[in-house]
């Protein structure tokens, strides 16, 4: 990176942190620290909710995913607007009217203390572990790009977030997230404009998408009912709905965001605006990936986008084999370039027969390129069985650092830092809220002063910050920790959502029934998960359904038992 890029990067980060601290000054009570005095307008809520959900990986993976397999990932978000509606009708009014600090606090009012403690405990374990990964994942990518040790990038991201989150609480999180999202939107828009600008003079925006579309990259919608296909309209609408509902409705990192709204209406409006904006936003991020794909039809891409892994292979005993594969790759690229140009001419002349003929040739060329890349990854595994053979996260950053002008590179690297900081800050704030409100205040020290609870919240934020940074540092030692944390989330989310659904919709079930139902469901989910009977994402649905069914059954049994005793 050039000096200008470093200046832009550091300036952006400093401005955001100082702005967050400045706007959150004067936070002197627990309500202000954890809920921002419930004073924030809808646009704050909306941007905060978006920033919490969008981790750094969102901005790195999505363009890379569009580059490799097209735009079908946009369907993953189709259930989100529907989940927002259910949240606005049920969750938001209840949480606001009962003036709860955390979602789990409501469960004590509806059921009992043990149900509240159980769900809070499950949340703390799941969120505490996954936040480490939220810091670690972009750290490792940034360390590759910036050529800095992962430990430093991890410590830098982690400690910066801890500083402003500890000082300003929810308000600092929300204000920094608002600015972060504004910079992220501007940076991505500039990147999109630059990609089009860097294309050959005769290739405009529409033509660029047409060429990518002929190679299967404009596949935004798929109506086929295929259970093995991860991204279709149906998996997005049904599976996505359950996933988003459990995430937004029961994960305190999101609940805390919309509880800071000035009123039910402001929280509702914030969530509904998220429902309006999220899908087009993801579509545009994926579109940038598609444009980058077309760019690389005219400019030879690296054979593998993760330069760290490629360099490792180049220095190994497999270097001669790699050279042969590279030569094949160059030849295949040149052959493909000829067909791309022929396709461009056919599109210019609107010659349908030629378009169809070239489409087939292009698809074959694309597959050939993919198979050559597979040979490289096979070689990487031969050289080092722990090698990272997925380079999706590196595609967009590789393009940014190689082709974008000075200044914009610094801004886009800043975006990766900001996205990571936004979701980490929300997570730390929610972990502190749950620790203090659901555990400390309820079980350990019931009659402390407001000031003591405020201090406890700050200490809890530091505590979780340290845990998450240590987790992130430790993550580099374990290869598949990211997947392990995702699996752990699926073990827990379904059960928690099930408890909330029973609370809202099955009014006759009481605390005792739902508590034992949740325990039984959780144990069964663990058994099913350990036996690998289904793909781990299905554990969310199974856990949720089991809690609902078990609650109803146990409630009936308890009633029968009571009648018998009487």
């Amino acid at each position: 990176m050039s000096v200008i890029d470093w200046v832009v990067l550091i300036l952006t980060l400093v401005v955001i942190v100082v702005y967050g601290i400045y706007k959150s000054r004067g936070t002197h009570n627990i309500q202000g620290y954890l809920l921002g005095n419930q004073s924030l307008p809808w646009y704050h809520v909306s941007l905060s909710v978006m920033a919490t959900q969008a981790s750094a990986i969102t901005f790195l993976s999505a363009p890379g995913l569009a580059y490799s397999s097209g735009m079908s990932f946009v369907q993953f978000y189709l259930g989100l607007p529907l989940a927002m509606i259910v949240l606005c009708i049920t969750f938001v009014p209840i949480f606001h009217r009962l003036k709860v600090y955390t979602a789990y606090e409501y469960l004590e009012q509806r059921f009992d203390l043990k149900t509240r403690a159980l769900t809070a405990f499950l949340f703390l374990i799941q969120r505490g572990l996954s936040t480490g990964i939220t810091i670690y994942a972009p750290s490792i990518i940034l360390s590759t790009i910036l050529d800095i040790n992962t430990t430093y990038t991890t410590l830098f991201i982690g400690s910066l977030v801890v500083c402003y989150t500890v000082y300003g609480g929810t308000k600092a999180v929300s204000y920094t997230q608002m600015l972060q999202m504004s910079i992220i939107f501007c940076g991505l828009f500039a990147a999109g404009v630059m990609v089009v600008h860097l294309l050959p003079a005769d290739i405009g925006f529409g033509r660029a998408i047409s060429i990518a579309g002929k190679m299967g990259r404009a596949n935004a919608i798929d109506f086929k009912l295929d259970l093995n296909n991860q991204y279709t309209v149906w998996t997005g609408l049904i599976g996505g709905f359950f996933l988003q509902l459990s995430y937004f409705g029961t994960d305190q990192s999101q609940v805390g965001r919309y509880l800071s709204g000035a009123s039910i209406s402001q929280s509702r409006l914030g969530l509904l605006m998220n429902g309006l904006v999220k899908i087009p936003m993801q579509f545009l991020i994926l579109l940038i990936g598609v444009l980058v794909f077309t760019f690389y039809q005219y400019n030879r891409p690296p054979i593998f986008f993760n330069s760290f892994e490629l360099n490792k292979l180049e220095k190994s005993k497999y270097a001669p084999e790699l050279s042969v594969i590279k030569a094949d790759f160059e030849k295949a690229f040149e052959e493909k370039q000829v067909v791309v140009e022929q396709m461009n001419v056919a599109l210019e002349q609107d010659d349908q027969a030629m378009i169809n003929a070239h489409r087939k040739t292009l698809q074959v060329a694309d597959e050939k390129e993919k198979s050559i890349r597979t040979k490289v990854t096979d070689l990487m595994v031969k050289n080092d069985e722990h090698a990272n053979t997925k380079d999706n996260n590196y595609i967009f950053l590789s393009f940014v650092t190689q082709y974008l002008p000075q200044g914009l590179i610094g801004l886009l690297i800043a975006i990766i830092f900001l996205a990571s900081m936004g979701s980490t800050a929300s997570a730390l704030n929610s972990l502190a809220s749950t620790t203090v409100i659901d555990i400390y205040k309820r079980l350990i020290k019931k009659d402390a002063s407001d000031h003591q609870y405020l201090q406890a919240s700050r200490i809890a934020t530091v505590f979780w910050g340290v845990i998450c940074i240590v987790m992130a540092l430790y993550a580099s030692k374990i290869g598949n920790l990211l997947e392990a944390v995702n699996i752990l989330g699926s073990y827990v989310y379904g059960t928690i959502l099930g408890v909330f659904l029973v609370a809202f919709y099955v009014r006759h079930v009481n605390g005792r029934a739902v508590f034992f139902a949740a325990l039984a469901a959780e144990m069964l989910v663990i058994v099913i998960g350990q036996l690998e009977l289904v793909a781990y994402l299905w554990l969310n649905v199974i856990g949720c359904m089991l809690v609902v069914v078990f609650s109803v059954i146990i409630q009936k049994l308890l009633r029968k038992q009571r009648i018998t005793i009487q």
Binding site: N37, P41, P81, G213, I264, S265
Partner: protein, 48 residues
């Protein structure tokens, strides 16, 4: 803009913008979702 809520202050019952009731806003969001699916479908068909 931002205004801190005082203890005991009653919850504001604001109406949504552009429409008269929240139900209409929800219908608007569902309509928006349907429109997006149709637009994405048209996008897929046009560029494939």
């Amino acid at each position: 803009m931002e205004q801190d809520k005082q203890p005991g202050q009653p919850e504001k019952q604001e109406l949504p913008p552009f429409v008269k009731t929240w139900k209409q806003f929800y219908a608007l969001l569902i309509g928006w979702l349907v429109l997006l699916v149709l637009l994405f479908y048209a996008f897929t068909k046009y560029f494939e």
